[in-house]
Symmetry: C2
Subunit: 200 residues, 2 copies
DNA sequence: ACTAAAAAATACCGATCGGTATTTTAATTG
DNA sequence: CAATTAAAATACCGATCGGTATTTTTTAGT
């Protein structure tokens, strides 16, 4: 046994890692089983031996894509000392779009939210939960900053948090569809302004 | 002749109006020819007599969806007198999400941008052009307001315009996927703040 | 009303869809 | 190493995919 994971677990992980970018790029309906077999070099029989159906693969891929981003975020948040710095992590992370922990196809939360919101409830719920968790993380940071005296007492954490997320996700969409990364940079300037404005 | 439009033109229009919401809801890959025949009550032969292929229908539907929104926007812009009021039109329009000129499925620009950006270049270009036109409209309004002395001279029109669009589109995405219209309302408050901040 | 032209319906095409039962191959354990 | 088990490949399923050639029905001009 070359690994502490069973063969099945290793194959399952291999399928997820290999196809996560495909689902993120082509969407759920746009990704076919033959896309998966072609990318992995495995057969349908093998894939269906490790997953119940196409939906299960897509869900596992979304979780994988999300966890990769969250890992980077949490690591950078831990490195930041002040609450201001912690909020700025979100600006910095999306600044160099290219060398990001993003899977091919861009932000999986955005892609899944739009792709699945009228067609696949399980995927939609995953995207919704991701947004809500993201919002909560920012709200907690703002509240922490208020208690620490870093931020003004009269800020509305929810509005700031939601606006930061909307700017980032909207900015990614704009930059991607117009093929112009500079647009995202300009929008991130506004996020930065939002963060600066709440400082005491 | 009951109409000044030919039969073919009327049928073509009927197909577009009837299926525009389907493409906007299910996406290009997720919409099948049988979805179209089912919704219209027509047969495949009839649809392919009026369109060359599925892509042509989707493109016509996008144009139709976009023009409906633009009609409302232009009308409201004409009614507004000051440049501040004109910018605020975008806040007001998206405030009551429900009774909007939006087709089923939400904002077609956002949906098409995400749905098509890695899979269909013609649709992607349409979405990109729509974003760029929207941005230009806002930039022109800001420049007008600066010249009229309504807005500060040191504003960066592109940044404001892009941020407004990102907030609105990001807000729509968040509200839709979390099933919570209040989120969009909070984000629109930030758009309002952005507009207020540039006033002299 | 009759006829030529246009539009819509029917019937069909090969390809691919997601999924499964069965066989073959590879990994694991005594 | 042999036997058992687990995993992957093969072969197949009905259904649906986008698209087309042909026939029938409507429409429109005289």
């Amino acid at each position: 046994m070359k690994n502490d994971l069973s063969k099945a677990e290793r194959t399952r992980q291999y399928i997820i890692e290999t196809t996560a970018g495909i689902f993120n790029t082509k969407g759920y309906a746009g990704t076919s089983l033959s896309d998966l077999t072609e990318a992995t070099g495995l057969t349908k029989g093998s894939i269906y031996g490790n997953f119940g159906n196409k939906e299960e693969v897509a869900l596992a891929c979304f979780d994988y894509n999300l966890s990769k981003i969250n890992q980077t975020v949490q690591q950078r948040l831990a490195e930041a000392t002040t609450y201001h710095q912690k909020l700025m992590v979100y600006v910095q992370i999306y600044q160099d779009f290219a060398k990001m922990p993003f899977p091919e196809g861009g932000c999986p939360i955005l892609n899944t939210a739009i792709d699945a919101d009228d067609t696949n409830n399980l995927l939609k719920d995953r995207a919704a939960k991701a947004i809500q968790a993201w919002k909560k993380r920012i709200v907690d940071l703002i509240r922490g900053g208020v208690e620490a005296g870093e931020f003004k007492a009269d800020v509305v954490p929810e509005q700031i948090a939601l606006s930061m997320i909307a700017l980032i996700e909207g900015g990614i969409m704009i930059a991607k569809v117009t093929n112009n990364p500079a647009s995202l940079a300009k929008i991130l300037k506004t996020v930065e302004m939002l963060i600066t404005q709440i400082k005491t």
